[in-house]
Protein backbone atom coordinates (compact mmCIF):
# COMPACT_ATOMS: atom_id res chain seq x y z
CA UNK A 1 0.00 0.00 0.00
CA UNK A 2 0.97 3.57 -0.62
CA UNK A 3 0.75 6.42 1.86
CA UNK A 4 -0.94 9.29 0.01
CA UNK A 5 -1.82 11.92 2.64
CA UNK A 6 -2.60 12.56 6.28
CA UNK A 7 -6.16 12.68 7.62
CA UNK A 8 -5.47 16.29 8.59
CA UNK A 9 -5.01 17.10 4.88
CA UNK A 10 -8.65 16.15 4.26
CA UNK A 11 -11.74 18.32 4.69
CA UNK A 12 -15.08 16.60 5.39
CA UNK A 13 -17.27 16.61 2.29
CA UNK A 14 -14.36 17.38 -0.02
CA UNK A 15 -11.81 15.65 -2.19
CA UNK A 16 -8.05 15.99 -2.40
CA UNK A 17 -6.22 15.45 -5.67
CA UNK A 18 -3.06 13.36 -5.36
CA UNK A 19 -0.90 13.85 -8.42
CA UNK A 20 2.17 12.00 -7.22
CA UNK A 21 0.61 8.89 -8.77
CA UNK A 22 -0.12 8.44 -12.47
CA UNK A 23 -2.90 8.94 -13.39
CA UNK A 24 -3.77 11.16 -10.42
CA UNK A 25 -6.25 9.93 -7.83
CA UNK A 26 -8.76 11.75 -5.62
CA UNK A 27 -9.13 11.00 -1.92
CA UNK A 28 -12.44 11.90 -0.30
CA UNK A 29 -13.45 12.28 3.33
CA UNK A 30 -17.25 12.09 3.49
CA UNK A 31 -19.36 14.02 5.99
CA UNK A 32 -20.01 10.61 7.56
CA UNK A 33 -16.28 10.21 8.17
CA UNK A 34 -15.46 7.51 5.63
CA UNK A 35 -12.40 7.76 3.36
CA UNK A 36 -12.45 6.73 -0.32
CA UNK A 37 -10.05 6.85 -3.24
CA UNK A 38 -10.96 6.88 -6.94
CA UNK A 39 -9.31 8.06 -10.14
CA UNK A 40 -9.32 11.86 -10.13
CA UNK A 41 -9.96 12.44 -13.83
CA UNK A 42 -13.56 12.26 -15.00
CA UNK A 43 -14.10 9.65 -17.73
CA UNK A 44 -15.95 12.19 -19.90
CA UNK A 45 -13.48 15.02 -20.26
CA UNK A 46 -10.53 16.52 -18.41
CA UNK A 47 -12.06 17.53 -15.07
CA UNK A 48 -10.74 16.86 -11.57
CA UNK A 49 -13.33 14.97 -9.55
CA UNK A 50 -11.59 16.06 -6.33
CA UNK A 51 -13.26 19.45 -6.91
CA UNK A 52 -16.68 17.86 -7.27
CA UNK A 53 -19.67 17.76 -4.95
CA UNK A 54 -19.81 14.85 -2.51
CA UNK A 55 -23.17 13.54 -1.33
CA UNK A 56 -24.50 10.08 -0.42
CA UNK A 57 -21.16 8.47 -1.20
CA UNK A 58 -21.13 9.81 -4.75
CA UNK A 59 -19.13 12.61 -6.31
CA UNK A 60 -20.65 14.90 -8.92
CA UNK A 61 -18.26 16.02 -11.66
CA UNK A 62 -17.73 19.80 -11.45
CA UNK A 63 -17.93 20.23 -15.22
CA UNK A 64 -21.02 18.40 -16.51
CA UNK A 65 -22.47 16.80 -13.38
CA UNK A 66 -22.23 13.07 -14.09
CA UNK A 67 -21.91 11.41 -10.68
CA UNK A 68 -19.65 8.52 -9.69
CA UNK A 69 -19.99 6.12 -6.78
CA UNK A 70 -17.12 6.37 -4.29
CA UNK A 71 -17.74 2.71 -3.46
CA UNK A 72 -17.93 1.09 -6.91
CA UNK A 73 -16.91 3.84 -9.33
CA UNK A 74 -20.09 3.42 -11.39
CA UNK A 75 -21.47 6.40 -13.29
CA UNK A 76 -25.14 7.43 -12.99
CA UNK A 77 -25.89 9.20 -16.24
CA UNK A 78 -24.47 10.90 -19.32
CA UNK A 79 -22.38 12.69 -20.40
CA UNK A 80 -19.85 10.31 -18.81
CA UNK A 81 -20.34 6.73 -19.97
CA UNK A 82 -17.59 4.80 -18.24
CA UNK A 83 -16.91 4.19 -14.53
CA UNK A 84 -13.83 5.40 -12.68
CA UNK A 85 -11.52 2.96 -10.94
CA UNK A 86 -11.83 2.61 -7.19
CA UNK A 87 -8.68 2.21 -5.09
CA UNK A 88 -8.79 0.47 -1.72
CA UNK A 89 -8.21 3.10 1.00
CA UNK A 90 -7.34 2.59 4.65
CA UNK A 91 -6.66 4.92 7.54
CA UNK A 92 -3.79 3.91 9.85
CA UNK A 93 -2.55 6.17 12.66
CA UNK A 94 -4.01 9.25 11.03
CA UNK A 95 -2.46 8.47 7.63
CA UNK A 96 -4.34 7.49 4.46
CA UNK A 97 -3.00 4.43 2.65
CA UNK A 98 -4.18 3.34 -0.77
CA UNK A 99 -3.81 0.17 -2.81
CA UNK A 100 -3.94 1.28 -6.43
CA UNK A 101 -6.26 -0.65 -8.70
CA UNK A 102 -4.50 -2.75 -11.31
CA UNK A 103 -7.36 -2.35 -13.79
CA UNK A 104 -6.81 -0.14 -16.83
CA UNK A 105 -7.99 3.42 -16.12
CA UNK A 106 -10.88 4.88 -18.15
CA UNK A 107 -9.17 8.13 -19.02
CA UNK A 108 -11.22 10.48 -21.22
CA UNK A 109 -10.27 10.60 -24.90
CA UNK A 110 -7.33 12.85 -25.63
CA UNK A 111 -6.12 13.01 -22.02
CA UNK A 112 -2.75 11.53 -21.14
CA UNK A 113 -0.47 11.82 -18.15
CA UNK A 114 3.20 11.69 -18.94
Amino acid sequence: MLRVCAMTDLVPGEGLRIDTVVPPIAVFLTEEGTVHAIDDTCTHQDASLAAGWVEDCRVECPLHASTFSLLTGDVDAQPAKKPVRVHAAEVRDGEVWVRLSTAAPNLPPGVTFA
Binding site: A51, W53, P62, L63, H64, Q78, P109
Partner: protein
Protein backbone atom coordinates in the same frame (compact mmCIF):
# COMPACT_ATOMS: atom_id res chain seq x y z
CA UNK B 1 -48.55 4.31 -26.44
CA UNK B 2 -48.25 7.09 -28.97
CA UNK B 3 -45.26 7.87 -31.12
CA UNK B 4 -42.72 10.64 -30.85
CA UNK B 5 -40.72 12.13 -33.70
CA UNK B 6 -37.75 14.29 -32.78
CA UNK B 7 -36.59 16.68 -35.49
CA UNK B 8 -32.86 17.39 -35.17
CA UNK B 9 -30.26 14.87 -34.01
CA UNK B 10 -27.97 17.15 -32.01
CA UNK B 11 -27.45 17.42 -28.27
CA UNK B 12 -31.03 18.35 -27.42
CA UNK B 13 -32.58 15.78 -29.76
CA UNK B 14 -30.33 13.00 -28.49
CA UNK B 15 -31.01 13.78 -24.84
CA UNK B 16 -34.75 14.07 -25.41
CA UNK B 17 -34.71 10.56 -26.86
CA UNK B 18 -32.47 9.29 -24.05
CA UNK B 19 -34.69 10.83 -21.37
CA UNK B 20 -37.85 9.44 -22.97
CA UNK B 21 -36.47 5.90 -22.88
CA UNK B 22 -35.09 6.40 -19.37
CA UNK B 23 -38.56 7.49 -18.23
CA UNK B 24 -40.12 4.42 -19.78
CA UNK B 25 -41.58 5.68 -23.03
CA UNK B 26 -42.60 2.47 -24.83
CA UNK B 27 -43.98 3.94 -28.04
CA UNK B 28 -42.21 4.60 -31.30
CA UNK B 29 -39.29 7.00 -31.16
CA UNK B 30 -37.73 8.35 -34.33
CA UNK B 31 -35.02 10.98 -34.52
CA UNK B 32 -34.52 12.74 -37.86
CA UNK B 33 -31.23 14.52 -38.45
CA UNK B 34 -29.85 16.41 -41.43
CA UNK B 35 -26.25 15.51 -40.64
CA UNK B 36 -24.68 12.25 -41.77
CA UNK B 37 -23.11 11.80 -38.33
CA UNK B 38 -24.66 10.12 -35.35
CA UNK B 39 -25.43 12.76 -32.68
CA UNK B 40 -22.25 14.38 -31.37
CA UNK B 41 -21.05 16.94 -28.85
CA UNK B 42 -20.14 20.39 -30.19
CA UNK B 43 -18.16 22.08 -27.39
CA UNK B 44 -14.89 20.29 -28.29
CA UNK B 45 -15.14 21.61 -31.88
CA UNK B 46 -13.49 24.87 -30.82
CA UNK B 47 -11.26 23.23 -28.22
CA UNK B 48 -9.75 19.72 -28.11
CA UNK B 49 -11.17 18.53 -31.45
CA UNK B 50 -9.86 21.59 -33.27
CA UNK B 51 -6.60 21.18 -31.37
CA UNK B 52 -6.29 17.65 -32.76
CA UNK B 53 -6.41 15.54 -29.61
CA UNK B 54 -9.91 14.14 -30.26
CA UNK B 55 -11.35 12.21 -33.18
CA UNK B 56 -14.89 12.47 -34.52
CA UNK B 57 -15.68 9.14 -32.85
CA UNK B 58 -14.72 10.65 -29.50
CA UNK B 59 -17.51 13.21 -29.88
CA UNK B 60 -20.32 10.67 -30.28
CA UNK B 61 -23.11 11.03 -27.74
CA UNK B 62 -24.61 7.55 -27.88
CA UNK B 63 -22.90 4.88 -25.83
CA UNK B 64 -21.71 2.08 -28.12
CA UNK B 65 -21.96 -0.32 -25.17
CA UNK B 66 -25.58 0.63 -24.45
CA UNK B 67 -27.07 2.22 -27.57
CA UNK B 68 -30.46 3.92 -27.34
CA UNK B 69 -33.48 2.06 -28.66
CA UNK B 70 -34.30 4.71 -31.23
CA UNK B 71 -34.88 4.78 -34.98
CA UNK B 72 -32.20 7.17 -36.24
CA UNK B 73 -32.70 8.60 -39.68
CA UNK B 74 -29.54 10.40 -40.70
CA UNK B 75 -28.97 12.70 -43.61
CA UNK B 76 -32.66 13.58 -43.86
CA UNK B 77 -33.75 17.18 -44.01
CA UNK B 78 -37.12 18.18 -42.61
CA UNK B 79 -38.83 20.90 -44.61
CA UNK B 80 -42.19 21.37 -42.95
CA UNK B 81 -44.69 20.53 -40.28
CA UNK B 82 -48.39 20.01 -40.74
CA UNK B 83 -50.16 20.08 -37.40
CA UNK B 84 -52.80 17.42 -36.97
CA UNK B 85 -56.29 18.39 -35.86
CA UNK B 86 -57.10 17.66 -32.22
CA UNK B 87 -55.81 14.20 -31.40
CA UNK B 88 -54.73 13.38 -34.96
CA UNK B 89 -51.03 12.83 -35.63
CA UNK B 90 -48.84 15.66 -36.84
CA UNK B 91 -47.09 15.27 -40.19
CA UNK B 92 -43.39 15.98 -40.39
CA UNK B 93 -42.50 16.65 -44.03
CA UNK B 94 -39.15 15.53 -45.43
CA UNK B 95 -37.21 16.95 -48.35
CA UNK B 96 -37.67 13.71 -50.32
CA UNK B 97 -41.43 14.22 -50.31
CA UNK B 98 -42.21 11.58 -47.69
CA UNK B 99 -43.57 12.28 -44.24
CA UNK B 100 -43.37 10.87 -40.74
CA UNK B 101 -46.44 10.95 -38.53
CA UNK B 102 -46.59 11.15 -34.76
CA UNK B 103 -48.81 12.46 -31.99
CA UNK B 104 -45.81 14.29 -30.56
CA UNK B 105 -43.13 16.22 -32.38
CA UNK B 106 -40.09 17.61 -30.62
CA UNK B 107 -38.35 20.42 -32.50
CA UNK B 108 -34.59 20.20 -31.82
CA UNK B 109 -33.03 21.69 -34.92
CA UNK B 110 -30.50 23.86 -33.07
CA UNK B 111 -28.89 26.76 -34.83
CA UNK B 112 -26.73 27.59 -37.82
CA UNK B 113 -23.54 29.61 -37.57
CA UNK B 114 -23.92 33.17 -38.82
CA UNK B 115 -21.55 34.05 -41.66
CA UNK B 116 -20.07 37.41 -42.51
CA UNK B 117 -21.32 37.89 -46.05
CA UNK B 118 -19.94 35.43 -48.58
CA UNK B 119 -17.34 32.98 -47.36
CA UNK B 120 -14.59 31.94 -49.78
CA UNK B 121 -11.90 29.31 -49.08
CA UNK B 122 -9.89 30.38 -46.06
CA UNK B 123 -12.96 31.77 -44.27
CA UNK B 124 -14.45 29.53 -41.61
CA UNK B 125 -17.25 29.16 -39.11
CA UNK B 126 -17.41 26.57 -36.32
CA UNK B 127 -20.63 24.67 -35.84
CA UNK B 128 -20.17 21.19 -37.30
CA UNK B 129 -17.52 18.47 -37.41
CA UNK B 130 -16.94 19.38 -41.08
CA UNK B 131 -16.41 23.06 -40.16
CA UNK B 132 -13.79 22.12 -37.58
CA UNK B 133 -12.12 19.64 -39.94
CA UNK B 134 -11.87 22.27 -42.66
CA UNK B 135 -10.28 24.76 -40.27
CA UNK B 136 -7.96 22.08 -38.93
CA UNK B 137 -6.90 21.27 -42.51
CA UNK B 138 -5.60 24.83 -43.02
CA UNK B 139 -1.88 25.36 -42.63
CA UNK B 140 -2.31 27.14 -39.29
CA UNK B 141 1.33 26.94 -38.19
CA UNK B 142 2.86 30.28 -39.15
CA UNK B 143 -0.45 31.66 -40.44
CA UNK B 144 -1.88 35.10 -39.75
CA UNK B 145 -5.32 34.45 -38.34
CA UNK B 146 -8.14 36.94 -37.76
CA UNK B 147 -11.04 35.81 -35.60
CA UNK B 148 -14.20 37.85 -36.03
CA UNK B 149 -16.38 38.08 -32.94
CA UNK B 150 -15.74 38.18 -29.24
CA UNK B 151 -18.06 35.57 -27.77
CA UNK B 152 -16.99 32.30 -26.20
CA UNK B 153 -16.63 30.34 -29.44
CA UNK B 154 -14.49 33.09 -31.04
CA UNK B 155 -12.24 33.35 -28.00
CA UNK B 156 -11.89 29.58 -27.78
CA UNK B 157 -10.98 29.36 -31.45
CA UNK B 158 -8.35 32.07 -30.96
CA UNK B 159 -6.89 30.19 -28.03
CA UNK B 160 -6.73 26.91 -29.99
CA UNK B 161 -5.23 28.34 -33.18
CA UNK B 162 -2.46 30.13 -31.30
CA UNK B 163 -1.70 26.81 -29.63
CA UNK B 164 -1.51 25.26 -33.11
CA UNK B 165 1.30 27.66 -33.94
CA UNK B 166 -0.39 30.56 -35.72
CA UNK B 167 2.09 33.39 -36.26
CA UNK B 168 -0.43 36.02 -35.22
CA UNK B 169 -4.00 35.90 -33.95
CA UNK B 170 -6.18 38.99 -33.86
CA UNK B 171 -9.64 38.83 -32.30
CA UNK B 172 -11.76 41.56 -33.88
CA UNK B 173 -14.88 42.05 -31.81
CA UNK B 174 -17.44 44.80 -31.38
CA UNK B 175 -16.99 45.18 -27.64
CA UNK B 176 -14.18 47.32 -26.22
CA UNK B 177 -13.12 44.30 -24.16
CA UNK B 178 -14.39 40.76 -24.71
CA UNK B 179 -17.62 39.76 -22.96
CA UNK B 180 -17.66 42.97 -20.93
CA UNK B 181 -21.31 43.79 -21.49
CA UNK B 182 -22.51 40.42 -20.28
CA UNK B 183 -20.02 39.54 -17.58
CA UNK B 184 -18.58 42.88 -16.47
CA UNK B 185 -15.21 44.64 -16.50
CA UNK B 186 -13.35 42.23 -14.21
CA UNK B 187 -13.76 39.15 -16.40
CA UNK B 188 -13.18 41.22 -19.54
CA UNK B 189 -9.91 42.59 -18.18
CA UNK B 190 -8.77 39.19 -17.04
CA UNK B 191 -9.54 37.52 -20.39
CA UNK B 192 -7.86 40.37 -22.26
CA UNK B 193 -4.72 39.92 -20.16
CA UNK B 194 -4.83 36.13 -20.50
CA UNK B 195 -5.10 36.30 -24.29
CA UNK B 196 -2.37 38.96 -24.45
CA UNK B 197 0.01 36.76 -22.44
CA UNK B 198 -0.52 33.98 -24.98
CA UNK B 199 0.05 36.31 -27.90
CA UNK B 200 -3.57 36.84 -28.95
CA UNK B 201 -4.38 40.48 -29.73
CA UNK B 202 -7.94 41.47 -28.88
CA UNK B 203 -8.90 44.41 -31.03
CA UNK B 204 -11.95 45.91 -29.41
CA UNK B 205 -14.51 48.22 -30.95
CA UNK B 206 -14.00 46.47 -34.30
CA UNK B 207 -17.12 46.18 -36.41
CA UNK B 208 -16.32 43.73 -39.17
CA UNK B 209 -18.28 44.22 -42.39
CA UNK B 210 -16.86 41.62 -44.76
CA UNK B 211 -14.30 38.94 -45.37
CA UNK B 212 -12.17 40.15 -48.28
CA UNK B 213 -10.94 37.97 -51.08
CA UNK B 214 -7.44 37.88 -52.62
CA UNK B 215 -6.38 37.40 -56.23
CA UNK B 216 -6.25 33.63 -55.64
CA UNK B 217 -9.88 33.63 -54.54
CA UNK B 218 -8.94 32.83 -50.98
CA UNK B 219 -9.80 34.98 -47.96
CA UNK B 220 -7.32 37.84 -47.66
CA UNK B 221 -8.55 39.45 -44.48
CA UNK B 222 -11.36 41.28 -42.82
CA UNK B 223 -12.70 44.74 -43.61
CA UNK B 224 -13.81 46.82 -40.65
CA UNK B 225 -16.52 49.48 -40.67
CA UNK B 226 -13.92 52.23 -40.12
CA UNK B 227 -12.11 51.23 -43.33
CA UNK B 228 -9.29 49.33 -41.65
CA UNK B 229 -8.28 46.10 -43.37
CA UNK B 230 -6.92 43.29 -41.19
CA UNK B 231 -4.73 41.05 -43.36
CA UNK B 232 -5.11 37.35 -42.79
CA UNK B 233 -4.28 33.97 -44.27
CA UNK B 234 -7.14 32.37 -42.39
CA UNK B 235 -10.33 34.00 -41.11
CA UNK B 236 -12.57 32.46 -38.45
CA UNK B 237 -16.02 34.00 -38.09
CA UNK B 238 -17.54 33.47 -34.66
CA UNK B 239 -20.38 35.94 -34.52
CA UNK B 240 -23.11 33.72 -33.19
CA UNK B 241 -25.78 31.39 -34.43
CA UNK B 242 -29.31 31.70 -35.74
CA UNK B 243 -32.06 29.24 -34.83
CA UNK B 244 -32.53 26.71 -37.62
CA UNK B 245 -36.31 27.03 -37.70
CA UNK B 246 -37.05 28.37 -41.20
CA UNK B 247 -38.63 24.98 -41.97
CA UNK B 248 -41.44 25.85 -39.55
CA UNK B 249 -42.56 28.79 -41.70
CA UNK B 250 -46.13 28.21 -42.72
CA UNK B 251 -46.80 25.90 -39.80
CA UNK B 252 -48.90 27.00 -36.85
CA UNK B 253 -45.86 26.94 -34.56
CA UNK B 254 -45.20 30.46 -33.27
CA UNK B 255 -41.65 31.79 -33.44
CA UNK B 256 -40.30 35.07 -32.09
CA UNK B 257 -38.63 37.84 -34.08
CA UNK B 258 -35.24 36.10 -33.89
CA UNK B 259 -36.66 32.80 -35.12
CA UNK B 260 -36.65 30.98 -31.77
CA UNK B 261 -39.64 28.73 -31.18
CA UNK B 262 -41.79 30.28 -28.46
CA UNK B 263 -42.36 27.83 -25.62
CA UNK B 264 -43.84 27.81 -22.16
CA UNK B 265 -41.86 26.76 -19.10
CA UNK B 266 -42.26 23.08 -20.04
CA UNK B 267 -41.24 23.41 -23.66
CA UNK B 268 -44.76 23.31 -25.12
CA UNK B 269 -45.18 25.40 -28.26
CA UNK B 270 -48.30 27.15 -29.52
CA UNK B 271 -49.39 23.84 -31.11
CA UNK B 272 -50.47 21.09 -28.70
CA UNK B 273 -48.24 18.07 -29.13
CA UNK B 274 -45.38 20.10 -30.58
CA UNK B 275 -42.48 20.88 -28.26
CA UNK B 276 -39.13 22.59 -28.71
CA UNK B 277 -35.76 22.10 -27.01
CA UNK B 278 -32.21 23.41 -27.18
CA UNK B 279 -30.72 26.24 -29.21
CA UNK B 280 -33.78 26.63 -31.45
CA UNK B 281 -36.13 27.29 -28.53
CA UNK B 282 -36.94 30.19 -26.28
CA UNK B 283 -38.60 29.09 -23.10
CA UNK B 284 -40.70 31.68 -21.32
CA UNK B 285 -39.75 30.92 -17.82
CA UNK B 286 -40.95 32.97 -14.88
CA UNK B 287 -38.33 31.58 -12.57
CA UNK B 288 -35.26 32.13 -14.71
CA UNK B 289 -36.57 35.38 -16.11
CA UNK B 290 -38.86 36.18 -18.97
CA UNK B 291 -37.88 35.21 -22.51
CA UNK B 292 -34.94 33.19 -21.45
CA UNK B 293 -33.08 32.21 -24.53
CA UNK B 294 -31.12 29.00 -24.61
CA UNK B 295 -27.83 28.64 -26.38
CA UNK B 296 -25.72 26.57 -24.06
CA UNK B 297 -25.08 22.90 -23.55
CA UNK B 298 -26.81 22.64 -20.19
CA UNK B 299 -29.99 24.25 -21.53
CA UNK B 300 -30.28 21.48 -24.10
CA UNK B 301 -30.06 18.84 -21.37
CA UNK B 302 -32.48 20.65 -19.06
CA UNK B 303 -34.98 21.18 -21.86
CA UNK B 304 -34.72 17.54 -22.91
CA UNK B 305 -35.35 16.25 -19.40
CA UNK B 306 -38.32 18.59 -18.88
CA UNK B 307 -40.04 17.83 -22.20
CA UNK B 308 -39.50 14.08 -21.84
CA UNK B 309 -41.10 14.21 -18.38
CA UNK B 310 -44.07 16.18 -19.73
CA UNK B 311 -44.48 13.67 -22.57
CA UNK B 312 -44.62 10.61 -20.34
CA UNK B 313 -46.58 12.39 -17.63
CA UNK B 314 -43.78 12.20 -15.07
CA UNK B 315 -43.24 15.00 -12.55
CA UNK B 316 -41.24 17.86 -14.06
CA UNK B 317 -37.60 17.87 -12.98
CA UNK B 318 -36.68 20.71 -10.64
CA UNK B 319 -35.66 23.94 -12.32
CA UNK B 320 -31.95 24.44 -11.82
CA UNK B 321 -29.86 27.54 -12.38
CA UNK B 322 -28.56 28.10 -15.90
CA UNK B 323 -24.96 27.04 -16.37
CA UNK B 324 -22.30 27.29 -19.03
CA UNK B 325 -18.57 26.97 -19.36
CA UNK B 326 -15.78 27.94 -21.70
CA UNK B 327 -12.13 26.95 -21.86
CA UNK B 328 -9.49 29.33 -23.11
CA UNK B 329 -5.73 28.84 -22.88
CA UNK B 330 -6.29 26.06 -20.38
CA UNK B 331 -8.39 28.27 -18.09
CA UNK B 332 -11.85 26.90 -17.30
CA UNK B 333 -14.46 29.67 -17.12
CA UNK B 334 -17.75 28.57 -15.53
CA UNK B 335 -20.86 30.68 -15.08
CA UNK B 336 -23.85 29.64 -13.03
CA UNK B 337 -26.98 31.65 -12.41
CA UNK B 338 -29.17 33.96 -14.38
CA UNK B 339 -27.63 37.10 -15.87
CA UNK B 340 -30.11 39.43 -17.54
CA UNK B 341 -27.68 42.34 -17.95
CA UNK B 342 -26.99 45.20 -15.57
CA UNK B 343 -25.82 43.05 -12.66
CA UNK B 344 -23.06 44.32 -10.39
CA UNK B 345 -19.99 42.09 -10.15
CA UNK B 346 -17.98 41.73 -6.95
CA UNK B 347 -14.58 40.03 -6.81
CA UNK B 348 -14.82 37.39 -4.08
CA UNK B 349 -11.36 35.99 -4.64
CA UNK B 350 -8.48 35.88 -7.09
CA UNK B 351 -7.14 38.60 -9.32
CA UNK B 352 -7.51 39.93 -12.84
CA UNK B 353 -3.90 39.02 -13.69
CA UNK B 354 -4.06 35.63 -11.98
CA UNK B 355 -6.83 34.38 -14.32
CA UNK B 356 -8.32 32.87 -11.16
CA UNK B 357 -11.21 35.24 -10.48
CA UNK B 358 -14.23 34.26 -8.46
CA UNK B 359 -17.01 36.76 -9.17
CA UNK B 360 -20.42 37.19 -7.66
CA UNK B 361 -23.21 39.03 -9.46
CA UNK B 362 -25.98 40.93 -7.69
CA UNK B 363 -29.19 42.34 -9.08
CA UNK B 364 -31.41 44.50 -6.90
CA UNK B 365 -29.36 43.50 -3.88
CA UNK B 366 -29.84 39.80 -4.55
CA UNK B 367 -27.07 37.37 -5.47
CA UNK B 368 -28.04 35.94 -8.85
CA UNK B 369 -24.94 34.34 -10.35
CA UNK B 370 -21.30 33.38 -9.91
CA UNK B 371 -18.41 33.11 -12.33
CA UNK B 372 -15.18 31.27 -11.71
CA UNK B 373 -11.93 31.07 -13.62
CA UNK B 374 -10.38 27.72 -12.67
CA UNK B 375 -12.76 27.62 -9.71
CA UNK B 376 -14.65 24.35 -10.24
CA UNK B 377 -15.02 23.70 -6.53
CA UNK B 378 -16.60 27.06 -5.74
CA UNK B 379 -18.89 27.12 -8.79
CA UNK B 380 -20.09 23.57 -8.11
CA UNK B 381 -20.74 24.48 -4.48
CA UNK B 382 -22.79 27.48 -5.55
CA UNK B 383 -24.82 25.47 -8.04
CA UNK B 384 -25.60 22.88 -5.39
CA UNK B 385 -26.45 25.52 -2.79
CA UNK B 386 -29.24 26.91 -4.94
CA UNK B 387 -32.20 24.82 -4.01
CA UNK B 388 -34.24 23.63 -6.97
CA UNK B 389 -37.27 25.82 -7.32
CA UNK B 390 -40.81 24.82 -8.18
CA UNK B 391 -41.67 24.69 -11.85
CA UNK B 392 -43.81 27.66 -12.87
CA UNK B 393 -47.26 27.13 -14.30
CA UNK B 394 -47.38 26.99 -18.10
CA UNK B 395 -47.86 30.32 -19.85
CA UNK B 396 -48.27 29.71 -23.57
CA UNK B 397 -50.18 26.50 -23.03
CA UNK B 398 -52.70 28.18 -20.75
CA UNK B 399 -53.56 30.62 -23.51
CA UNK B 400 -53.65 28.17 -26.36
CA UNK B 401 -55.65 25.37 -24.84
CA UNK B 402 -54.61 22.10 -23.29
CA UNK B 403 -51.25 20.58 -24.08
CA UNK B 404 -51.12 16.93 -24.98
CA UNK B 405 -49.49 14.34 -22.90
CA UNK B 406 -48.86 10.86 -24.23
CA UNK B 407 -51.72 9.59 -22.08
CA UNK B 408 -54.26 11.84 -23.78
CA UNK B 409 -53.20 10.84 -27.24
Amino acid sequence: MSDVVVVGAGLAGFHTAAALRRLGHQGGLTVLGAEEHAPYDRPPLSKAFLGGSLTAADLALDDPDAPLDVVWERGVRVVGLQAGAAGAPHRVLLADGTDRRAEHVVVATGADAVRLGDHMPGAHVLRTIEDAERLRAERLAGARVVVVGDGFVALEAASTVVELGAASVVVAGPEERPLERRYGPELAASLLALHARRGVVCRGGARAVAVTSGADGRAAGVMLADGTHLDADVVVVGIGARPATAWLAGSAVVRDATGHVDCDARGATSVPGVWAVGDCARWNDEVRGPMRCAGHWQDALDHAATVAAALVGAPAPAVTEPYCWSEQHGVMVQVAGHLAGGERATVLDGSVDGADLLLRYDRDGEEVAVLGMNRPREVTRWRRSRRPRPVPTPLVAAESGPTRSLEDA
